[in-house]
Symmetry: C2
Subunit: 703 residues, 2 copies
């Protein structure tokens, strides 16, 4: 009876993928509008494909090399032989969902602009459906990957011996735990590379276009304008999707592994493993239902539009909240109903972090308005007040996560059995991520609306169209900010689950581990881990600066060499700009990536597994805080500038506006490159540690 529930997982995967296909077909049935609109959309799509092609080539090389390393580790007995292959599929499915999500997103922007000529609601419908395709493909492919490997390993270990000291489920979950690394690596490239691309194009386009040439944003005369629009897709769609794909898969496999540790002694491993998988499947259903709640009226104000999206997320959350009670009760029985409360804490934490983010970044509230006010005394005070808001905004998410951790630990019975408590913490991450299908939809819809606005501008559509797309875009900024909060919060909880699973693996492999704060190795690990997010953020920020510099040089060259761009008689060479940013982003990505992958291995070899665990924890703590700060500072600066542009403190063109633009420009790499990349850093380092655990135990200099 219980095993049957596992069938929900491929079923959920199928539901998600089919519904995504249905939405995609519905979008494609719409027309893209005038020839000009089609032409622009084609250019963006081509640019996006060109970027993805280049990126996937780099990724393929990396995956090839890493596959070889993992095979070596497997041959030496440090890894189950399945891991290298699982690594490949994890990366493949993550890449595939990014590809599909972006294909649809780039096909939806012109259609959204076109629909906006008809009505706001139909424009919202297209843009949101495009986001929903991304969200559902991510969860659908995630569950597909999990299903394939679960059934494959189950079949294999039914007829082959399991590794020493493990039962079948232990062997399955240990193996599956490792394969998150494929998703992690892919996410690294998508998030970091995409983040550098999007902001380098944006900043580069603005620096020469807006500042030097004095032409407006999204002006077709700007050679970098297509690159800028491509960037929205590769950074905010594909990057965000890969980030959350990783969290989604990572939290589920970590929970499965911790479930075996917690319930193995009770003979209830299978039930414990079934819970997170079933919940994910229930979440798919809830997400699909939620999409039907997203509708708006024609004359909707900003608040009503936001409510339209919220209705979708909230209704999905309520469905999961109710359904998971029965899932836990049915699978584990009332004795373990505490697990349900853990799920609920995660779910609630996700929603609350979103609300806190909104408060600190929306111009409807005091913090962002205070930044706008400070623009009256110049750019320095804008920067200071924006940093100050970002730093202050870390308090509430940290308290929310802390309460969620304590609640999910103790409510699931951690006081009596620590393993149970850790399982509870892990399942709270799954709870938070269960509604990912729709949460990601509200997030990935933003870039589509943004691009639709760009398309409307470039193809000279009537002003009221741009107003409608602007309304959608502005809402997209809010959902992007809350989405970032959600991504960071879920990354932190997922990382904690992975760290706990890592410790378990060390113990299963017969290692000693002393995680006391008074162990100098753990302590030093904490310090190093606490520092790494700062260095990582520094590297990604300066990468944006250099890549943007390359764009500036190219745009200046085109303005100079291609006569007639400014008068509109000659077309700029958009593709060349895309090519340059693509190349720069790929190059700039190397050092941060090496840092993320090499750190746990180097620290492990030099100082052992206690230091590694300390490092992972330190990086999670400081990465979480820093990521929240950077995302919220950036979001608040952005909206403070928009608030000034709405006519406050002198409006567009005033000195306050100029100061606001400085804040916004500083915030760009904060919120779209460095901040979100930290999510990947903390999860990827945990994954690398898990995969290399046995190797490091055998080769560390400090045993």
């Amino acid at each position: 009876m219980r095993f049957d529930l596992l069938m929900l997982v491929p079923a959920g995967s199928l539901l998600a993928l089919c519904f995504a296909a249905y939405l995609a077909l519905k979008i494609l049935k719409r027309t893209e509008g005038s020839k000009e609109m089609v032409r622009i959309a084609d250019a963006v799509r081509e640019g996006a494909y060109a970027y993805l092609k280049r990126q996937y080539t780099g990724v393929a090389i990396f995956f090839g090399a890493m596959f070889f390393v993992l095979i070596l580790l497997a041959v030496k007995g440090h890894l189950p032989i399945f891991v290298p292959f699982a690594f490949l599929t994890g990366g493949f499915f993550s890449g595939l969902s990014g590809f599909i999500g972006m294909s649809i997103a780039t096909r939806s922007s012109a259609r959204t602009a076109n629909m906006a000529q008809k009505s706001l609601n139909s424009a919202l419908g297209v843009a949101f459906s495009s986001g929903a395709v991304m969200g559902l493909v991510v969860v659908g492919l995630g569950l597909l990957d999990l299903s394939i490997w679960y059934y494959l390993l189950d079949w294999w270990y039914s007829s082959h011996p399991t590794p020493a000291g493990m039962d079948k489920l232990g062997a399955i979950t240990s193996t599956m735990l490792c394969f998150g690394m494929g998703a992690s690596s892919q996410a690294l490239f998508a998030r970091v590379g995409g983040g550098i691309f999007t902001k380098a194009a944006d900043v580069g386009a603005d620096l020469v276009g807006k500042v030097e040439a004095g032409i407006p944003e999204d002006d077709p005369r700007n050679p970098a304008v297509i690159a800028d629009n491509v960037g929205d897709n590769v950074g905010d769609v594909a990057g965000m999707g890969a980030d959350l794909y990783e969290s989604y898969v990572g939290s589920i496999v970590a929970t499965m592994a911790l479930g075996v540790a917690a319930f193995g002694g009770l003979g209830m491993s299978l039930q414990a493993v079934t819970i997170p998988l079933t919940m994910a499947a229930v979440g798919v259903l809830a997400s699909v239902v939620g999409t039907f709640f997203v509708k708006t009226e024609e004359k909707a104000e900003q608040g009503a539009l936001l409510m339209a999206l919220r209705r979708g997320v909230f209704s999905s959350s309520i469905i999961v909240a109710i359904a998971s009670y029965f899932v836990v009760k049915h699978i584990l029985g009332m004795q373990y109903i505490g697990i349900y409360w853990s799920v609920l804490s995660g779910l609630a934490a996700g929603v609350l972090i979103g609300l806190s983010t909104e408060y600190f970044t929306s111009s409807r509230y005091k913090p962002t308005r205070a930044i706008a006010l400070s623009a009256l005394t110049g750019p320095a005070t804008v920067v200071i007040s924006g940093m100050s808001v970002g730093m202050l905004s870390t308090a509430i998410p940290v308290i929310i996560v802390s309460v969620a951790v304590l609640a999910s630990y103790y409510l699931s019975g951690g006081a009596a059995n620590a393993n149970m408590g850790l399982y509870g913490v892990a399942i709270s991450a799954v709870g938070m991520l269960s509604t990912l299908g729709i949460t990601l939809a509200t997030d990935a819809y933003g870039p589509v609306a943004d691009n639709a606005g760009g398309n409307a501008e470039m193809s000279h559509l009537p002003k009221d169209v741009r107003q409608k797309t602007d309304a959608l875009d502005s809402l997209g900024n809010t959902t992007a900010a809350t989405g970032k909060g959600f991504a960071i919060g879920s990354a932190a909880l997922t990382a904690l689950a992975l760290i706990a699973a890592y410790r378990d693996q060390i113990i299963i492999m017969g290692g000693n581990i002393n995680l006391s704060l008074m162990n100098p190795k753990t302590l030093v690990g904490l310090f190093i881990g606490g520092m790494l997010p700062f260095v990582f953020a520094s590297l990604t920020m300066s990468a944006v600066g250099r890549a943007a510099g390359a764009v500036v040089v190219e745009v200046r060259r085109q303005f100079k060499e291609i006569k007639g761009i400014m008068s509109g008689t000659a077309k700029p060479d958009y593709a060349r700009c895309v090519h340059i940013v693509t190349f720069a982003a790929q190059k700039e990505m190397v050092i941060p990536s090496v840092l993320a992958i090499a750190s746990p291995i180097i620290v492990g070899i030099l100082a052992g597994v206690d230091s590694v665990t300390g490092m992972l924890t330190g990086a999670t703590v400081s990465g979480f805080v820093l990521a929240v700060m950077m995302a919220n500072s950036g979001g608040a600066w952005d909206n403070a500038k928009k608030y000034i542009e709405e006519g406050n403190y002198g409006g567009k063109g005033s000195s306050a506006h100029k100061a606001g633009v400085v804040g916004d420009t500083v915030g760009d790499p904060f919120k779209d490159t460095s901040g979100p990349s930290l999510n990947i850093l903390i999860k990827l380092m945990s994954m690398v540690s898990i995969v290399f655990a046995s190797f490091i135990m055998a080769n560390t200099l400090m045993k």
Copy 2:
């Protein structure tokens, strides 16, 4: 024989105080120069006294209230009855050293300017002597306080019973550990209040004076100019002094307490307690000797001037490095010579952190020049590249501290005996701080040179005088940056020692403590602790903004209402500006102070001692990293601006210069308010936790 060595402590104190008195008299024998110079120096001194008077009034109220609380705790049996009184003396001596240091500093600036008319060397002599007075008074009064209490408690416990479960030395060190809180509280007010004052006056004076009225820096027509000069004294002299007084005393008492735990079982408590005290006394002698090495030639360049100061610090360090070998050998014997290596790691770490700071903040090196270059593309890129440099610069100090912790732990025998290792970590902090007398001198000399420049400007001395004071001032910026690195590094090591001592105290009091990273309470503590420095920095930064706003309003009012300021026929009301900043700083200080003091108590009551320890560790890790980042970003921005002013990238008045000024203004609260305040936060929270330990164990909701 061994007990006799303890006599070195009062002897060292006496030496420091007598030599300080000698230097002070030497300074006062110089003349202050023209009437105008005297008048200006008087105005600054009066402002500084007015500030101190106001601050000490606030402090007195706080100390009164806290004394009452501590008496209550003592009556309830949560504290030895001596603690409330020791709390008062700790605060008193810290305040006294701030007062003396500032008195001499404000008496030295005009004399430095006057001596600069004669020669660079004699100007250096006055300014450096003034710094040395501060340095020596801090260590002298610190050792005096320690001596008084050590002998008093020794006498008392020789004829009275010790608390249950403690021998005499255990009782002495437990009590003395608590009294660091007096120094901590005083430091909070000095560092945070002084930091807000100095930057509010600076930013306020610049915003109206330089930007609106277009008059140069240090122009006597600016009503806030005296407040600005006062700020250098209260922030950089008194604030820095109180900060390091706290580290100095805190590291010594923590080491003493840990020494009893490590060597008690061997019957060697007295020896273990004697070591840090003796080393401090040796450090005094080394510092006094070091001052004689600080001399320069007349035509000295920047590099030669820096070497002059470095000679002083390096020779003192070498003396300590050699002498402490014999101290350890003589007191503990060759069997424990590992302790000597711990001392050496701390000493070396202090020097190395200073060098790393210099690399990242001096315009002679690549990072700062890269910031200057980025000024060509505007203020946003200056801010981004400065943040990036600051973040990157955290790596080396973290690695230095990590290596120092591991080295001092294992070299002192921590592998076999954990208590021995923790004692080793603590003694490395003492090693780092042993040369404080001279390290602080090179640091506190800066503001004197700065003020001398202001005095020369305002009293219209010949240009070459200003050039000489500028050379000294510019060097002061470098020593201020390295001094900050030293202050942060020593604060981190001191905090670690205090955390270890805190854990010891909990165990001595019969409490349970589980510091595993897998304990959710510890983990949540780490998250909260990791967040607090960000919130604290946010609060202090926005405090500067508000206080600066008050200055702006007042300066504008004076320009408007007092006719003839701009033409020089009327004098502005300097005192009123000083009064306003004083008042604003005192008011703005309240919330950050409450946060620092209340957090450990609230977390303790809500979540118990595991969470408190986690919080202290998390705050130390993230506070250290954030403080380094803020100090180095700020220093690099400052020097990048100066580099542009020297004629690079367009020089003064160019758009690059304007962009550089934005960076510098952002950096002001970074490096002089928020960054340094974090040192206090991490130490004070540890101190509060120690003092309230018994109370929290009895009253926590999560046992």
